[in-house]
């Protein structure tokens, strides 16, 4: 499986009379694009706004962010399966990407209707929260989009996400026929058999057991080829992920984060240098019995063995009981002789519970990516742990907070940061113990 990834850097985005990429400037015909988006009668609002690095701007609620990519040669479409897109296996041929930007889905639509999962993510383009976020260094093209609340949550999700993908597709399409300024070839060629074989194991949360939406293809949480429900472990070629086979969002992990996953790209670039990257096993988490959880971990370790893996990097995207699958995967790998490294954020050692939920002697090598923020509005906040007021809000001016969402908070005002787990390894945070 060979994939050429052509990069078109974007150093500026302007609204103008046509939509094109030229010499690093992306011009967008806003009215024409929005007219196309508004053809979907399910939408009640659609607006495009720009957020630039360094601005005193807060974006709320961020539901997903997507890097515009387009398949210009080879089978399938980028971001396959989601919101009705084709499901052909991706990862081959040539894909173009617009780098340095993202299209942000700014919407109040909830990810599913099971309750409990409220929108909680906002981005700042500057200040302490902006410093933490890798996406604050992008020019963010924000689609503020809402759907008719009389529709089902599933339909609302489909409508707003289709609209976001439509903008992405139209922008990326401008690069078709152009020669990319930079090209990188991704191919897992045979390498020196003496190099250690390494597998990457991202654990992907699924809300399907809780949402009761297990038979539906899509609702707006992390999806593999559009499937967000609990499924047994997926063996993926890393090229598929570069082509968007795993899409966001779940909390902080957006489609942009997943497609630009630094761990995956680093493993790839070191393939044949000091490791033999044998592939990706994506494990679904939040199964709801001990036996199911354990089964997924055992099957993951078995699959890793069949791939010949000697080492594994295990990472995750959502904690809580989902973390059991994460640590048990580490244990299951170690027990079949695969050295497993856990990439994890850390929790405050309060309450006396073990940081890893269970004592895990097998986890003898852990990479900490610390945490950002400290939770949610209403939680006890340190005096210094409140983000300053911003001049401009893109999206909704207020948000509901509190245990039953009974309090109204001004989004522009001082705001505690949401929790940020950098489990993709973008690496803008470190922790100091003292």
């Amino acid at each position: 499986m060979r994939l050429e990834l052509g990069t078109f850097p974007v150093r500026d985005v302007v609204f103008g009379s046509r939509t094109r990429w030229q010499d690093g400037v992306l011009e967008i015909n806003r009215d024409a694009l929005l007219e196309e988006v508004r053809k979907d009668p399910r939408l009640t609002k659609a607006a495009l706004e720009l957020a630039r690095p360094g601005e005193s701007t807060r974006i709320w609620p961020v539901r997903d962010a997507i890097e515009p990519r387009v398949k210009v040669e080879g089978p399938g479409v980028v971001y396959p399966g989601i919101a009705g897109r084709a499901i052909d296996t991706v990862g081959q041929g040539r894909t173009h990407r617009l780098a340095g930007i993202s299209v942000v889905e700014v919407s109040e639509v909830l990810p599913h209707d099971a309750g409990g999962d409220f929108n909680s993510i906002f981005w700042d383009m500057s200040g302490p929260w902006g410093d933490v976020l890798p996406v604050s260094k992008l020019i963010n093209i924000c689609l503020v989009v809402e759907a008719d609340p009389a529709l089902t949550v599933l339909d609302q999700n489909d409508a707003v996400h289709r609209a976001t993908l439509l903008i992405c597709d139209r922008l990326a399409e401008t690069t078709r026929g152009l020669k990319p300024p930079e090209t990188e070839v991704f191919e897992l060629k045979p390498v020196d058999p003496a190099l250690p074989k390494v597998v990457y194991i991202p654990c992907l949360h699924s809300a399907s057991a809780m949402s009761g939406n297990s038979s539906s293809g899509f609702f707006c949480t992390t999806a593999t080829y559009g499937l967000s429900q609990l499924t047994s472990p997926w063996v993926l070629h890393p090229n598929e992920i570069i082509d968007g086979a795993i899409t966001g969002p779940y909390r902080i992990a957006s489609s942009w984060h997943i497609a630009n996953n630094p761990i995956l790209l680093e493993l790839y670039r070191r393939h044949g240098v000091d490791v033999n990257f044998v592939g990706v096993i994506a494990v679904r988490t939040e199964w709801t019995t001990m036996a199911e959880k354990e089964l997924m971990c055992l099957q993951t370790a078995k699959t890793a063995q069949m791939l010949g893996a000697q080492g594994a990097i295990v990472a995750w995207d959502a904690g809580g009981n989902e973390f059991l699958e994460v640590i048990h995967t580490v244990r299951a790998c170690e027990r079949v002789g695969i050295k497993a490294i856990l990439l994890t954020s850390e929790d405050d050692p309060t309450g006396g519970a073990p940081t890893l939920l269970e004592p895990l002697p097998e986890a003898d090598s852990v990479v900490s990516v610390f945490i950002g923020g400290s939770g949610y509005p209403g939680a006890a906040q340190g005096a210094g742990n409140v983000l300053p007021r911003v001049q401009r809000v893109i999206g909704s001016p207020t948000r509901l907070v509190g245990p039953v969402r009974e309090e109204v908070m001004e989004v522009a005002g001082p705001m505690p940061p949401p929790r940020y787990n950098d489990t993709y390894g973008f690496g803008r945070l470190s922790g100091i113990e003292y």
């Binding site: 057991a209 519970a353 073990p354």
Partner: protein
């Protein structure tokens, strides 16, 4: 403690842990139908009561499958 993910309370030091059904329905299983759901729930609850009567010196796991099925008491009008 009745828990579907019973390994967690076991390793965090709960004295008596009873295996529950699922995270979303710990004390029963609505997919079994009303009668069997009730019997399953009763079995879990009876095991929890038996656990309370049992002396333990370390975190101990109780499995409702080890509990004999209850005979549903018939209330006689007399």
């Amino acid at each position: 403690m009745i828990s579907a993910i019973y390994e967690l309370p076991m390793t965090t030091g709960a004295n008596r842990v009873v295996k529950g059904a699922r995270i979303e329905h710990v004390c029963g299983d609505p997919s079994l139908g009303e009668q069997k759901d009730f019997e399953y729930g009763l079995r879990i609850t009876r095991m929890a009561l038996k656990a309370l009567e049992t002396a333990v010196d370390k975190p101990t796991l109780f499995d409702p499958a080890d509990m004999p099925p209850a005979v549903r008491e018939v209330v006689h009008a007399s």
